[in-house]
Amino acid sequence: MWALYIRDVQLGVRAGGGALVGIIFFLTVVAVVPFGVGPDLNLLARIGPAILWVAALLSVLLGLDRLFQADREDGSLDLLLIAGQRHMSALMVFVKCLAHWTASVAPLVIAAPLLGLFMNMEPVAIGAAALTLLVGTPAITFIGAAGAAVAVALPRGGQLVSVLVLPLAIPVLIFGVSASYGAVTDPAPFLPPFLILCALTLFFAVIGPLAAAQALKWSSD
């Protein structure tokens, strides 16, 4: 399993891996918003966490459709599934998700504080947004894995993945943004939405890989 993790991280980081595309997309979206919204610093500070979260959500979805498709095209998916007796297929999916998160999503979380400065966010708000992204983005990857597994056999399944996955990712977005706001605006609490966000990630860490493994089993035609 460790070998699979290393391989997927290597593939993600090397040329053509697609990890870089997601990061550049994230940077572009966030960097463009101040130009569109105008130089109202208070407004930017207020919508900053939301912009960071929406941009992160979209850039995670951008790369997810390749999660199983690349393996299917070169035949490795068959071999990974045959090994299901030795390594449970759901565990295989879980490890692939972790590798995808490490290679393509963790850099977003690292870049988020810098982009928070673009949005004139306070240090506390920047910290809260980065923390909620760190905790919440794995959930999007796990949900996306199930979508990617359903769409693996379809040509141009990429768009379908985003449509399938987006409704499920909405709760993650809501609690991620409200926890970030809770850290800076006074009556709103930080801890309850943050804990719900943690719970969502743990929940989808179990459900997502199981659903994806089941979908892959029926797609291997």
Binding site: G75, L79, Q85, S220
Partner: protein, 204 residues
Amino acid sequence: MRLVAQALAGERGGEPVFSGVSFSLGEGDALTVTGPNGSGKSTLLRVVAGLLPAAAGTITFEGGGEEWPTPRSAAHFLGHQNGMKTALTVDENLRFWREFKGEPHLESQEALEMMGLGEIGHLPFGYLSTGQKRRVAIARLLVSYRPIWLLDEPTAGLDAASEAQFAELMQAHLEDGGMIMAATHLPLGLTAATELRMGAGAAA
């Protein structure tokens, strides 16, 4: 150890492709599956490998013990695609499969040398020619041990010398007590292989 199929039937997208296929392979036995295009050779191999459910009948692996309870856990599968990543080097690809599949057998360098590719381990897989890629995929069968080899058109893209080399490898695997089931249009150079003709619905 024995691989036994009884009255096996397979379907693709709801359409029956073959039915009533029975065979039995013991240690050191080879079975070549022949027949016209679309007669279900690949489907049969995928059913045996557990990638497709059997529409009817059973496929069992006897005597594998706890280590190899099912045919799919005991099998190497070499399909039409090579299952290698073009962005990784040949050596990284083979070492990954060696570690992931477990039961390590040969080192990746040794396996490459067996296939006459000792010099190219450091190259990205994407740089190789079609025949070289196929030989690397065959080297994958050697880096971890499985008693059953399921081969789908294994010699596609190989030159005559590599074919002969591969025939020797298969012979060595059989003498070791392995089993081989190969779908093919070309003779594989196996001396004592039984033939299963698909398409007529008959079984060997």
